[in-house]
């Protein structure tokens, strides 16, 4: 299919910036608890850092390689960069305004103070000096810059201090740099009591700045200020002919420090000449300079939230509910055998059964083999421990590790080595394809018969993120799906070539074709009397061909409800009125990918690891699997219903690319994540409602 006219597309970078603007809206929202707002400030910064490291870097590279190329919305790389600069600049300005004029002021009302250098009392200065000498000074490495000491490599995303000083012996001015160590806490609480009641914090860079005389004795400090640079991290590994991907990746990581700088951030009000010197030294174009009205690197505010540990200032915890299909008194295997299919909606339901499933498998003498894909796992992961244990117990453990999960590479290498040492068979991905599907297959023998158990998921095997990302886990022992996943593992391990699958689809083999076929079928079956219906939930919708197919389906009358948390390049409202785009940004990161097709009255439901993005459909191993049991389908229906009418955290995209927030007093009770949590809580407690769901479950899944 041909691409559509550019008016049907929204530029992906601008759409991404809109998403981050929605994150910022949460930080600005006075109905959100104070420290949660601060958390959104942090998330906004962390998102933006990644955006500069990857996307802005990629467009910069495009400028060099193909400056005339245009994206589907018709913009050249230069135009995109100009838009990004304007929009990102405005958003950051807004962010600092929210932080300093709103959140920090509100915190002060709660007796929590972030002290400025100018507010330090003599007692503070004493306390700070003592802390500096004991904790900070030993870690610092000041570097003077002159003819024999060229400008050093400055680490990506760390705060540096630029200093201009005069040596006592000569009149010569000297430039120096000091890196603010990442290993040290950024917020230091002052306890000398000179300010009275409340909690008082100083920033690490301010403490160092106050003690520069200790670093440069007898020198006169003429000026000093903190800055931070962001580098191009959009590296692609050249894997051709790389024998050992692991060694290669380790080497690549070492070179990361030397990547091109993309952005320089400095605090406002810095003397011009030292700033000018820095810009020259870094060989940066002036448009890469961003001035901020406050402290640098707001991602560190996570640390402050943790240190404050004030439950009153954060939203109450939503304790995960139990799944009634998982019986705590028997093994997870038994629960699966009994229920056949068990969904878990994280984080409304706990991730623990997944860990228990693995832990039981690692000790169960009947388990022969465990195969699993691992993408991003937490540090000290119980998943990795269970796999190690299983390997030590003599089971065939095959782990397909994606080393290239962006920014997690160093961590991944560490535990991958540990796994190998315990005897697991560790496979480091397929050259050129990122392994993004999440699958866990367990082969077990009982009474001479092989049984397979599967856990598939829309999210990573990460017990930490499972508490803050919304994902759907799915246990099943369906023999067809198990056989398909076995084949997929054989393809990923290189044991077999791809032939065909009965139930699943996988990228880069047939996932794109499958999605397109599903959309086309919906268009084909759509009649005025019974219009087709697609509901698709994902993180990002970018792929221009999928968008074209959706547009054509909409022209045939298919109703298309899209729940896209992040980037959405589809511009709704041209020629058709049947496409809606809703984005939900709330306390949990919307992460599940769910697809519904009405299929002329015989609906089909799928879960997937893939977004509708070219990289997911063409350059990654991704998985789409059907949900055939009525219980899970019912829950998905309910989830969709709640999300599509969420007016509190949901925003709808209009024809102009703007996200509209229809929050009013009347709609306050429509917050979908809260309602979902309540739904699962009710199911776990209220047997009456559960019974209703289970009747459906019993009736429809019996063969």
């Amino acid at each position: 299919m041909e691409l559509l006219d550019k008016k049907y597309y929204i530029n992906r970078e601008l759409s991404w910036l809109s998403f981050n603007a929605r994150v910022l809206e949460e930080a600005a929202d006075p109905t959100v608890p104070l420290l949660d707002r601060l958390k959104f400030i942090s998330i906004f910064s962390s998102n933006l850092d990644e955006f500069f490291m990857v996307r802005v870097a990629a467009i910069n590279q495009q400028m060099v390689a193909a400056s005339n190329s245009r994206d589907p919305s018709g913009l050249t790389p230069a135009q995109q960069l100009a838009f990004i600069r304007k929009r990102a600049g405005a958003l950051v300005k807004q962010q600092y305004s929210i932080l300093t004029h709103d959140i920090l002021v509100s915190l002060e009302k709660q007796s929590i103070f972030l002290l400025n250098r100018s507010h330090f009392t003599p007692e503070d200065t004493r306390e700070i000096r003592s802390h500096f000498l004991q904790q900070i000074y030993p870690v610092l490495t000041p570097m003077a810059i002159d003819q024999s000491h060229p400008f050093p490599l400055v680490s990506n995303c760390s705060i540096e201090l630029a200093i201009l000083l005069k040596k006592p012996s000569s009149e010569k001015l000297v430039h120096a740099l000091v890196e603010v160590p990442k290993v040290l806490p950024r917020f230091i609480e002052l306890t000398n009591g000179s300010h009275g009641k409340g909690r008082y914090f100083a920033l690490l860079e301010d403490i160092i700045l106050t003690n520069l005389d200790q670093l440069f004795p007898q020198c006169e400090i003429l000026s000093a200020f903190p800055f931070r640079i962001t580098r191009d991290m959009d590296f692609t590994l050249n894997e051709d002919g790389v024998a050992d991907l692991l060694v290669h990746l380790e080497k690549t990581l070492l070179t990361r420090k030397r990547r091109e700088p993309i952005r320089l951030e400095i605090t406002a009000g810095i003397k011009h000449d030292l700033k000018q010197w820095l810009v020259e030294m870094l060989e940066l174009p002036p448009e890469s300079l961003y001035t901020v009205q406050g402290p640098l690197d707001l991602t560190a505010f996570f640390e402050l939230i943790r240190k404050l540990n004030t439950p009153a200032l954060v939203e109450e915890e939503w304790a995960p509910a139990d799944s009634l299909l998982i019986d705590d008194t028997v093994s997870v295997f038994e629960s699966i055998s009994k229920a056949k299919n068990i969904p878990l909606f994280h984080p409304f339901q706990s991730f623990d059964p997944v860990v228990r499933f693995l832990e039981e498998a690692s000790e169960d003498p009947n388990v022969l083999a465990i195969k699993q894909t691992l993408y991003r796992v937490s540090g000290d992961s119980p998943v990795v421990h269970a796999l190690q244990r299983a390997a030590e117990n003599g089971k065939q453990v095959t782990v397909i590790v994606e080393l290239k999960a962006r920014f997690d590479e160093e961590r991944n290498i560490t535990w991958a080595r540990q796994l190998e040492e315990s005897g697991a068979h560790v496979i480091y991905g397929i050259a050129g394809l990122k392994i993004h599907c999440k699958a866990l297959l367990i082969i077990r023998r009982s009474e001479g018969t092989i049984q397979r158990y599967l856990h598939l998921s829309t999210g990573n095997y990460n017990d930490k993120t499972a508490k803050v990302y919304t994902d759907i886990s799915y246990f099943t022992d369906n023999p067809s799906i198990c056989a398909d996943i076995s084949t997929l593992f054989n393809v990923m391990t290189g044991y077999s070539e791809f032939h065909e699958w009965e139930k699943i689809a996988a990228a880069p083999f047939n996932l794109r074709e499958k999605f397109i076929a599903l959309i086309e079928r919906e268009a084909r079956l759509s009649t005025p009397h019974r219009p087709g219906h697609i509901i698709a939930k994902m993180n990002s919708l970018v792929d221009p061909y999928i968008i074209a197919h959706l547009h054509h389906a909409a022209l045939k009358g298919v109703k298309i409800d899209l729940l896209v948390r992040g980037i959405c390049c589809l511009r709704p409202g041209y020629d058709t009125r049947t496409i809606t785009v809703t984005s939900i940004v709330d306390r949990f990161l919307e992460h599940s990918r769910i697809f519904y097709f009405a299929n002329g009255g015989n609906p089909e439901y799928f879960l997937s690891s893939a977004d509708w993005m070219p990289r997911n459909l063409d350059r990654r191993i991704e998985l789409l699997f059907p949900v055939e049991d009525q219980y899970t389908r019912k829950l998905i229906d309910e989830l969709f219903r709640l999300q599509l009418k969420d007016k509190v955290k949901g925003r709808t995209l209009d024809k102009n690319g703007k996200y509209l927030h229809a929050k009013t007093k009347k709609t306050l009770s429509s917050r979908s994540q809260e309602l979902t949590w309540k739904l699962f809580d009710t199911i776990a407690k209220d047997t009456q409602k559960t019974k209703k769901l289970f009747t459906i479950f019993d009736r429809k899944t019996k063969p």
């Binding site: 084949t487 054989n490 044991y495 077999s496």
Partner: protein
């Protein structure tokens, strides 16, 4: 199923162009559940069909593939497996080195599947699959199993297996043998005369012309059916009419390989093999009056699974009847005397059965004796003089379904010793046998000679009344015969081998 295997079962099949493994298990009621199905492309065809041997790099590649298969076997706790190599390895000069390397490097015992065993298994599967829909007893059928590296042929007359042949034809074999750079037109130019000569030869030697049923099996044929039907066939038996076949042939001949791969979603090897396969079918249809092609859905792995199941359940070989039927076909081909051959064979089998405690041999050896007896005189087709040596040669170069090359050689050697000199250290055919097989040949040849001596008069009236032995002698009491001079003399001259083998003198008594 009387007894199901306790663990999952793996079947590995190393062909000329692909290595495949299927892991299956059996439910209590004998249903087969496929647990895993792996395939990897390998490149033995080009090596063997062009250069006669497997190259070092392909040996390494195959070792790697089979080692990976071994890993998956472990994941399912597989303890029982059958790993076979077919066409390419079978023909490779260095096949023993190859098999040894696989065994030492992967721990997997790969064996070469004899074509006659392959055909036997195939025949049994086809018969079972067809029996519900087609009564083979009222047809004269021909069966072709078309692989990428070799093709097997069998004629089945009124339900009896007759002629079988193994052809060095494969859908990819010509491309392998010639060159990969050859153009499609050139392939067509070469294939057509080659195939037509081959089919002609087969037709002349067998009653194929009378045949009214054409049964084809093989992956390439199956994909032809799939292409014709526009989807993957789910039926066990597909039928393709003459008209449909020729329409399809035209369409395929007009398409490039790339088009075929894209349009029909088939793999490259299958796409390359479609034209040669159609060419063969075209030639077959010219020689056979069948109106349509029957394509049962069977592959090597399926039949091996069934064979393993049968072996594990210890039920008798259902194939003996078919073997004898096709041995009789060989006899007819070389104008043997069927009545006399049968009489002597029955007598030999009677002696075999009565002397179980002397020779201690089993069912399989009994069958060897029967075949050797039936075919012992076919050498006369060439010349009566030295005909035992001609029989040896003919048997060793005929296909006996379900018999390995080694077994067939034993049969041929037994037939060779049915007369004249006893085995001797100066006979190459005898000396090349293993010591175990030497003893077996002596035992069976002794029995054959004894039966021949008793039935030398070709009267068919010999009847053994009683047979008994002590430590020194075997006494045979015959019914209804008074003058045993001739038999006595024959035993004296021909049956020294018996005495040498069993340590018993033969005493013949009339009434």
């Amino acid at each position: 199923m009387s007894k199901k295997p306790q663990t999952a079962l793996a079947i590995i099949d190393i062909g000329a162009h692909s290595a495949r493994m299927e892991i299956v298990q059996f439910s209590q009621d004998g249903e087969i559940q496929v647990l895993d199905n792996l395939s990897q492309p390998i490149f033995l065809g080009t090596d063997v069909f062009r250069n006669g041997k497997i190259s070092a790099s392909n040996m390494r590649h195959c070792t790697r593939v089979i080692r990976d298969f071994g890993t998956v076997m472990k994941e399912y706790g597989v303890e029982q497996y059958r790993a076979v190599a077919t066409s390419a390895v079978r023909e490779a000069i260095n096949r023993d080195i190859f098999l040894n390397k696989i065994r030492t490097d992967t721990g997997i015992n790969l064996t070469v599947l004899d074509p006659s065993e392959e055909l036997k298994l195939l025949y049994l599967s086809v018969k079972k699959l067809l029996e519900k829909n087609i009564n083979l007893k009222v047809h004269n059928a021909v069966l072709f199993s078309i692989g990428t590296g070799s093709t097997h042929f069998a004629s089945i007359e009124k339900g009896n297996l007759k002629n079988i042949q193994f052809l060095k034809f494969g859908t990819l074999r010509l491309i392998d043998e010639l060159s990969t750079e050859i153009t499609p037109q050139k392939i067509k130019d070469v294939i057509d005369p080659f195939v037509s000569t081959m089919v002609d030869d087969v037709a002349r030697m067998s009653p194929a012309k009378k045949s009214d049923l054409l049964i084809l099996v093989g992956a390439t044929v199956r994909s032809l059916v799939d292409i014709e039907q526009g989807k993957k066939s789910e039926k066990n038996i597909a039928v393709l009419s003459r008209e449909k076949f020729y329409a399809l042939f035209q369409k395929i001949a007009a398409s490039s390989i790339d088009d075929l791969v894209k349009t029909y979603g088939i793999s490259d090897p299958i796409a390359c093999g479609l034209t040669p396969c159609c060419n063969l079918i075209d030639n077959l249809l010219k020689n056979i009056s069948a109106e349509s092609i029957i394509v049962p859905s069977i592959n090597t792995r399926d039949i091996l699974i069934k064979a393993e199941l049968q072996r594990l359940s210890n039920t008798p070989d259902p194939f003996e009847k078919e073997i004898i039927s096709s041995v009789e076909f060989i006899g007819e081909k070389y104008r043997y005397n069927p009545e006399h051959a049968r009489t002597v064979a029955d007598l030999a089998l009677l002696l075999f059965d009565k002397m179980m405690d002397i020779h201690n041999l089993g069912q399989r050896e009994r069958l060897m004796l029967e075949i050797a007896t039936l075919l012992r005189d076919i050498g006369k087709f060439i010349n009566s003089r030295q005909h035992h040596k001609h029989s040896f040669y003919i048997i060793n170069n005929s296909a006996i379904p379900g018999f390995t090359d080694e077994e067939r050689n034993i049969v041929a050697t037994v037939a060779r010793y049915h007369r004249k000199a006893a085995p001797s250290t100066s006979h190459i055919e005898y000396m090349s046998l293993s010591s175990e097989n030497k003893v077996l040949v002596c035992k069976l040849a002794s029995l054959l000679r004894l039966a021949g001596s008793l039935e030398r008069t070709h009267t068919g009236k010999v009847a053994i009344k009683k047979l008994f032995h002590d430590e020194e002698s075997l006494t045979i009491q015959l019914n209804g015969s008074t003058d045993l001079t001739k038999e006595q003399w024959l035993i004296k001259t021909q049956c020294g081998l018996f005495t040498d083998t069993f340590g018993l003198k033969i005493i013949l008594n009339g009434q």
